[in-house]
């Protein structure tokens, strides 16, 4: 497979997963903020926390200097000038899909194209909910259609690599969002508000129902961290995603010269080992935010090793024929 095509499929997977995650996080936030406002509370902190978890505080600060009344929600979802907004992510996914037309099926392209057309032609008029809902539905449809209409080959493995690395990154950001939501005082740890916030984190990862099945007891920080980071059976946990990524990466690079895939393989193997040996209580004790930060850095190294070693490798002199 062409290196450029492999890279584009990988990025298509990343953008699709990113769009779905941002849509879900925004939706949970939206519901929570409606609830808080109904109770007479202040919901602004919820949105700034989301901006913080997505690593976008500086960009948002710059944006509101230009447009002071731009709300963080609108900026995250609809802004054309924010290159990471949901709308921009959908646009990027669609332009990749257009470049990849001959590698994806007509059905897959049409779903992405329809989403793009609805995102760019009828923006905020209907509000956030219809848009985030259609992003979630469409991404699920696309991933399903991909499974059912596209040849099972290297290309599909690259798309899956993109989905899982992005999901791992996004889940780590969802958990990290808790770090950005401040509790009024240290005594509130373990209190009602703390529990309520952890519940929001679970919802953001579509994990609340799974959590209830897994743990019969109370929602605590350690349990949420354990489930979202280390649970090998929960499909959004960091551990699950890294293992899945490794499997797809191995299949995608079956025929790649070993010296090209080795650096990424090495990073992956170490990451998988460390996650397998980790313990939630110790992580929370030592600092959840620091752990997640390091995790994101290590994922970035995997990404770089893959990009440099495989997608953009300068080929050794051609084999003479």
């Amino acid at each position: 497979m062409l290196s450029r095509v492999a890279e584009n499929l990988y990025w298509l997977g990343r953008y699709l997963e990113r769009a779905e995650n941002v849509a879900r996080m925004a939706e949970v936030n939206y519901n929570a903020s409606v609830e808080q406002r109904a109770a007479g509370g202040d919901d602004s902190q919820l949105w700034t926390a989301l901006v913080g978890a997505l690593d976008a505080r500086e960009e948002y600060a710059a944006a509101i200097e230009q447009t002071p009344d731009l709300s963080p929600g609108d900026w995250l979802i609809f802004s054309e000038s924010n290159p990471n907004s949901l709308r921009s992510t959908v646009t990027l996914a669609r332009s990749l899909a257009r470049e990849l037309r001959e590698h994806i099926s007509r059905e897959v392209f049409e779903e992405i194209n329809l989403l793009y057309l609805s995102a760019t032609r009828a923006p905020h008029t209907a509000g956030m909910r219809p848009f985030t809902a259609s992003v979630k539905r469409t991404v699920a449809a696309i991933v399903g259609l991909f499974d059912n209409t596209v040849l099972l080959n290297e290309g599909r493995e690259w798309l899956r690599c993109g989905l899982f690395i992005e999901r791992a990154d996004m889940t780590s950001r969802i958990v990290d969002a808790k770090y950005f939501i401040l509790l009024p005082s240290p005594e509130d740890v373990g209190g009602t508000l703390d529990t309520y916030q952890w519940m929001g984190i679970l919802r953001s990862a579509s994990a609340l129902e799974a959590f209830r099945k897994r743990y019969r007891g109370a929602i605590t920080g350690v349990r949420v961290a354990e489930m979202l980071m280390l649970d090998p059976d929960f499909p959004r946990s960091l551990g699950f995603c890294v293992t899945a990524f490794t499997r797809h990466f191995e299949r995608a690079t079956e025929a790649t010269p070993r010296q090209q895939s080795l650096p990424a393989n090495r990073e992956l193997a170490l990451l998988e080992l460390d996650l397998g040996a980790a313990n939630a209580e110790e992580i929370v004790e030592a600092g959840l935010h620091e752990f997640l930060d390091e995790f994101q850095t290590r994922l970035g190294r995997v990404h770089d090793a893959m990009t440099d070693g495989i997608f953009r490798a300068v080929p050794a002199a051609a084999a003479s024929r």
Binding site: L2, R106, E110, N113, I310, A319, R321
Partner: protein, 485 residues
């Protein structure tokens, strides 16, 4: 139908659907039986279904001048051009004859140049032509085929005869719209098709792929032949078509940066290493193909490609250097070339053409510009055209000055009152001029796609059908012999 056709007025040229006294022409009889039940609401409903289908499917082209929405659907009109089997047989034979002669013409112009010595075309018109590529001298591509994919623009004149307006032998585009238009028609107006009597078009991709394999370099096994489509990239106006054809043939769509040349062989950069490439169906113009030989600033091409081509290790489709014969100037000499190389009379006549570079023609153009259409000899897309009968005195004067300053830069033709086909203007049908671009694929032999791209002007006053000038398209039906006789 009464509703839709109220006030339908034909123009100076013939109408494809109606004979002069208002009765349906033979080709349209069965169609009209079905179509006459429609009123304007029905038409609008079908049209919006068709537009939506093309938009959702991403069947779009890019408009360069437009900043805002750079992708648009090609305006599509639901009333097809219908051609009888008899008419088509003439067109088909004429096209095969023409393309055969053009290939011989190219081999000779880059080879012995016997045709120049024998007076078919003046030497100075060849050597000075911007389309002549001296680097191709002495080269003969596999099977002697230069124009592998030819798009020959035809119009039907006042007398009802199909004439050649121009040959497109470099990278003619439009075939994807032929295939997508048919698909749209079958989805949106299946009830308009006379049962089983319209020739299908979906064979195109198979024929194209068969040709690519047929012209592979010597010594490469047919089953091992690796063909690719080379595109300038997703911002090119015809990108949809490049990707469409790659999908239809199941071959890689590549950009210049995906290829590299090593030791005069071309390779593709793959995740598994380098893989050899044998045939490149390029949709990149000659001058951008290889920065070492042509434009240095080209980022679209592949360094070293030209040498690999000349060494015979890769076949480039269409060949490099075809510009010399699809030039609007050379077009004037094609009938003579057909007689010279094949010893036959041309089956399809040319539109009369006068070239500024010939002194006698120049005099004629200057004297009769008010009745002629003047075009730059080396531009396409409908840019820079002066239509004499519609131009102001000042415009004509300016055009004469441009012509005097650079006689060989222009050609002129009598204003063609070419045929019209009914098209919907939002309320009712009006007559609009339309041309026809059939596609000829030539490998071991020539094959003509039944039908072709019918392009239609944007309103009833316009003579220009190019998409870049707001023109639209129609499906083209070639009726099967059983119904056509």
């Amino acid at each position: 139908m009464a509703d839709l056709l109220t006030g339908y007025r034909t123009l100076a040229g013939p109408d494809e659907m109606f004979a002069p006294h208002g009765e349906y022409r033979f080709a349209y009889r069965e169609f009209a039986e079905r179509f006459r039940r429609w009123d304007a609401d029905e038409y609008r409903a079908r049209q919006s279904a068709s537009d939506l289908e093309q938009l959702n499917g991403g069947v779009t082209f890019t408009v360069y001048q437009d900043q805002a929405g750079t992708e648009r659907i090609f305006p599509f009109s639901l009333i097809p051009r219908i051609i009888t089997a008899e008419e088509w047989a003439v067109i088909e034979a004429g096209l095969v004859q023409r393309v055969t002669a053009l290939n011989r013409f190219l081999t000779d112009l880059y080879g012995e140049q016997r045709c120049i010595r024998d007076g078919v075309i003046p030497a100075e018109l060849v050597e000075s032509a911007p389309g002549f590529n001296p680097r191709m001298r002495g080269f003969v591509p596999p099977l002697g085929v230069w124009a592998h994919v030819a798009g020959i623009d035809l119009i039907r004149d006042r007398e009802g005869i199909f004439r050649v307006l121009e040959d497109n032998l470099r990278t003619p585009s439009g075939v994807s719209y032929v295939l997508e238009n048919r698909r749209t028609m079958l989805n949106v107006v299946p009830d308009l098709f006379p049962a089983g009597s319209v020739a299908p078009v979906d064979e195109y991709a198979d024929r194209l792929l068969e040709m690519l394999v047929a012209v592979r370099p010597a010594g490469v096994d047919a089953d091992e032949t690796r063909s690719v489509i080379l595109t300038p990239g997703s911002y090119n106006s015809a990108y949809f078509e490049h990707s469409f054809l790659a999908r239809q043939m199941g071959i890689e769509l590549v950009e210049g940066r995906d290829l590299l040349v090593h030791d005069h062989h071309v390779y593709l950069r793959a995740t598994t290493g380098l893989e050899p490439v044998h045939v490149i169906y390029r949709r990149v113009d000659d001058e951008f193909l290889d920065p070492l030989v042509f434009r240095e600033d080209s980022a679209l091409g592949v360094a070293g490609l030209f040498e690999a081509y000349r060494a015979g290790n890769v076949t480039i489709v269409n060949a490099i250097g075809n510009g010399i014969v699809d030039d609007k100037v050379t077009c004037r000499f094609v009938p003579a070339a057909i007689r010279y190389f094949l010893g036959e009379e041309p089956i399809l006549p040319n539109v009369d053409t006068f070239v500024g570079a010939l002194p006698s023609d120049l005099e004629f153009i200057l004297a009769n510009l008010g009745d002629l259409v003047m075009k730059p000899s080396n531009a396409s897309g409908g840019y820079g055209i002066v239509i004499g009968p519609q131009a102001s005195a000042a415009d004509l004067q300016a055009a004469r000055e441009r012509l005097r300053a650079n006689p060989s830069g222009y050609i002129a033709q009598p204003l063609q009152e070419f045929s019209t086909i009914p098209s919907f203007d939002g309320e009712r049908l009006e007559a609009r001029r339309a041309d026809l671009r059939p596609f000829v694929v030539t490998g071991a032999s020539s094959w003509v796609l039944p039908g072709g791209l019918t392009r239609v002007a944007s309103d009833s006053t316009s003579y220009i059908v190019n998409s870049s000038q707001g023109g639209g398209s129609k499906d083209t039906w070639v009726l099967r012999p059983s119904r056509g006789t």
